[in-house]
């Protein structure tokens, strides 16, 4: 295989790999493609209160199950003095607080952070029974109520074609204050909620149904009681209804806490038990949400990446990951434009220094050190020193210059100049040495051309490297480096003309 074909195949492989990983991280792990994306994270707090009787106490709270459209980022429990564990009960998880003896008012907390991932449909519950227990409408119930219930069922059945539309019709009727049957039923079940009544009527119609407990996620809500939805089995699958409107589907912003009719809270050894909820929303950078949700799942791509390093090293890597972008700028400018620079990748190092120092301070300091350094170097060249000693002398001079610049500018109140320390000293010394040779051999004009070329490349590299998109992509999607590598390989195959050559060879065209 020819080297050229190999380059293209390799570049294609690298690009596919890098782009694939990036898309995977974006789509599956939720890493944002654009910087500055925020996600709403809801902090839900369940507060369990009860009065203990003085004996052994056990409180069990049903915990929300994993849901497809809600991602649990983290949970905390607080329970001073109580033993705590999580038990699995059928297919529910319950938090159990227990204590040998307690008396007086007790308060327990359970808090969780969830992030809503839109679009995913609600999964079908596997273990919920579809058996119907017909409502006990015997002697205890008045005949009139019974009639009213069956009349509601019949009317709804007339107006519907299947279970789904039947449930919707039924809920509409139950919400209609002008409906006589409905009023009669509600006057009988005085303290029962709409969902309770709906469940009774549905049971009378022999349709499997249960309640869903949950919360509407709205910002800054306190002391909320759980709200109920209705879930109806249509013969093949479970369908959720919002009871007040009769609309099918889970309302947006509804966080499902419990599916099925079991109790939400059980307290043994206490009275007046109650669970209330409060909800707060926070705007969190999308990347942090992605990090939290993937660290729970131990995603290998994230677990074995730079994100697993300590924060300090991460911030160093943030800078290091920009270096390839700088080298790409150099490659483009040399291959396609043909700019002459002093030292191939010296401009990249300069650009990194500029990132720390800010552009104009950096430029000013660089030119100042270069000019002063060249001046000293010209004197040194008269002293007949060996090369290594001379460059070492220039390094020392550069260090002294840096110190002087720092101190003088600090005294003058120009604090930006303190960032002079970010300049790579050895590189500066070599640059000075090279420039002085260029000066002697090719004259000051060539020095200006080369220094100007290096600065131009450095400024362009700086400009690209400080672009917020580039910063975001290199740090959050380091696998894009593979794409960059592939691109550089392809550029390395370019055999066309450089921009400078279109100028250089213009006489040939005449």
């Amino acid at each position: 295989m020819s080297p050229r074909a190999q380059v293209y195949i390799l570049a294609a492989l690298l690009t596919v790999m890098g782009a694939g990983l990036t898309i995977y991280k974006n789509r599956e792990l939720g890493f944002p493609l654009l910087p500055g994306e925020y996600r709403t994270v809801w902090t839900i707090e369940a507060k369990v209160r009860f009065t203990a009787d003085g004996g052994p106490v056990k409180a069990a709270l049903t915990l929300p199950r994993a849901q497809r459209n809600m991602q649990v980022l983290g949970e905390t429990f607080s329970s001073s003095g109580f033993g705590f564990n999580i038990v699995r009960d059928d297919d529910e998880y319950r938090a159990v607080w227990s204590r040998r003896s307690a008396s007086g008012n007790q308060t327990l907390f359970y808090q969780l952070d969830v992030h809503q991932t839109p679009g995913a449909p609600l999964e079908q519950p596997l273990a919920l029974s579809t058996e119907v227990a017909p409502p006990f409408l015997g002697a205890r119930e008045q005949e009139a109520v019974r009639q009213a219930i069956y009349s509601l069922v019949d009317t709804a059945r007339d107006r519907s074609s299947d279970t789904k539309t039947f449930a919707a019709q039924l809920l509409i009727a139950l919400n209609d204050p002008r409906n006589q049957d409905r009023n009669l039923i509600f006057s009988h079940y005085k303290n029962r909620s709409l969902v309770d009544v709906a469940l009774i009527v549905l049971a009378a119609a022999e349709i499997p149904a249960h309640r869903i407990r949950g919360l509407y996620l709205e910002d800054d809500r306190r002391r909320l009681d759980p709200e109920d939805l209705l879930e109806v089995y249509d013969g093949r699958r479970w369908v959720v209804f919002e009871p007040n409107t009769g609309n099918p589907g889970v309302p947006p912003n509804f966080f499902i806490w419990q599916r099925g009719g079991k109790s939400l809270l059980d307290v043994e050894g206490g009275r007046n038990s109650r669970v209330t909820f409060s909800v707060i929303s926070n705007d969190v950078p999308a990347r942090d949400v992605a990090m939290l949700s993937t660290s729970n799942e131990k995603e290998a791509l994230v677990d074995f990446s730079i994100y697993s390093l300590p924060i300090e090293q991460q911030s160093i890597f943030k800078l290091i990951l920009l270096v390839p972008v700088g080298t790409l700028v150099v490659v483009l400018l040399r291959v396609f434009v043909g700019l002459r620079t002093s030292g191939t990748f010296m401009p990249v190092l300069l650009a990194i220094a500029f990132i720390e120092t800010r552009l104009f301070t950096g430029l000013a300091i660089f030119v100042l050190i270069l000019v002063l350094g060249l001046w000293v170097r010209f004197y040194l060249s008269r002293l007949n020193l060996l090369l290594v000693a001379r460059i070492a002398a220039v390094v020392v001079t550069v260090v002294i210059l840096m110190g002087v610049i720092s101190v003088v500018s600090y005294k003058l109140g120009i604090e930006q100049a303190l960032t002079v320390t970010f300049f790579p000293m050895i590189i500066l010394a070599w640059t000075i040495e090279r420039m002085s040779i260029v000066w002697e051999e090719d004259g000051p004009y060539e020095v200006v051309v080369q220094a100007g070329g290096s600065l131009l490349v450095a400024v362009l590299a700086w400009w690209v490297m400080t672009n917020r998109f580039v910063e975001h992509w290199t740090f959050n999607f380091p696998e894009l480096l593979l794409v960059l590598l592939g691109f550089i390989l392809i550029v390395g195959n370019y055999t066309g003309y450089r921009l400078g050559e279109l100028m250089r060879f213009r006489q040939l065209v005449r």
Partner: protein, 333 residues
């Protein structure tokens, strides 16, 4: 009418730039294409030391019977003052060179003496100390790529053939021949000028004179990218210029292919009054300015050679020179 205006607009927007398609049509070789398609493909890395180190070049040339300027001494390690002085004391004229210098840097030419001082071609005097410092600089790698320690060589000054005297100002005229797979494909004479400060680099203002491969006569001359007819300092017209012993010179260049094993090669050749053409140095990465000097693209000629079959490529030096002189004769302007 509208189209005419559009063309004017494009021309104005383009400024001094020409279309890459026009260059391609003329067969101009660009830097990227040179690096990828010729240097990387035809020049083996392990042959580079032969040309990158001038001492190696000299040694190799002697083995192949190619004439070179006489080597007086070479210092492998940092020489003592006395060693250097012992060598140069009896000499009137000599050249001090770094073995691995690039771009003609670090070459000190001494053409005479004046008391304790040495005279450069420009007439400027350098002291004994300056010469010693120059030796020390070369040795510590000031002129070599990457600053690696270098070797110092002292060569006899070439006794230049006076034919070019009036075409060069202060400097050394030399002939650069591009040899591709053993075939000379293009040649130019580099004449230093006052504005190039005696140096033979075209980008510093030296005159590049394209030489017709068939005859050795000048066919085109440029300075700083502009076509000229006379030398800017000596006012000599270039169309009278003929390189004597042209065929011998081409033969020498062609033989460098066997000597170096490099497929794409630039040979720098000077003419000695008594010995004829001498190989000054060879270059594995010859520049592209030769196209400007000749006013012709190099790529067409390289393609021509690439299209030859194996049998034609493996011919003798004589046959190759004959072929090149026929195939690449300059088209009269």
């Amino acid at each position: 009418m509208g189209r005419f205006n559009l063309r004017q607009l494009v021309a104005r927007l383009r400024g001094g730039f020409v279309s890459p398609f026009a260059l391609r049509r003329l067969g101009v070789l660009g830097m990227n294409a040179r690096n990828v398609q010729y240097i990387a493909r035809y020049n083996d890395r392990d042959r580079y030391p032969i040309v990158d180190d001038k001492l190696n070049t000299k040694r190799c040339a002697r083995r192949h019977g190619i004439p070179v300027p006489e080597l007086i001494a070479a210092f492998e390690s940092q020489p003592s003052r006395r060693r250097v002085m012992e060598v140069i004391e009896p000499l009137w004229q000599f050249v001090i060179k770094p073995a691995r210098g690039s771009g003609g840097k670090g070459i000190l030419v001494v053409v005479g003496r004046e008391g304790d001082n040495y005279l450069k071609p420009s007439g400027a005097a350098v002291s004994r100390e300056d010469v010693l410092r120059h030796v020390s600089n070369i040795h510590s790698g000031l002129y070599s790529l990457g600053g690696k320690p270098d070797r110092v060589m002292i060569e006899a000054l070439v006794d230049f053939d006076p034919v070019f005297d009036r075409y060069s100002f202060e400097g050394v005229p030399d002939v650069r021949v591009i040899v591709f797979r053993g075939f000379p494909v293009m040649a130019m004479l580099r004449c230093s000028t006052h504005s190039s400060d005696g140096k033979a680099n075209l980008h510093q203002g030296a005159v590049g004179v394209g030489i017709d491969l068939a005859t050795g006569k000048s066919c085109h001359a440029v300075q700083r990218g502009l076509r000229i007819a006379r030398h800017p300092d000596t006012e000599m017209p270039f169309d009278e210029l003929v390189v004597p012993g042209w065929r011998d010179l081409l033969r020498l260049a062609s033989r460098c292919y066997e000597m170096t094993g490099l497929g794409y090669l630039g040979c720098d050749i000077v003419l000695d009054r008594r010995r004829g053409p001498l190989l000054l140095e060879a270059n594995a990465r010859p520049g592209l300015a030769i196209q400007l000097a000749n006013g012709v693209g190099l790529r067409t000629r390289l393609r021509h050679i690439e299209a030859l079959d194996m049998e034609q490529l493996e011919r003798s030096v004589e046959a190759r020179v004959d072929y090149a002189m026929n195939a690449f004769a300059a088209v009269p302007a």
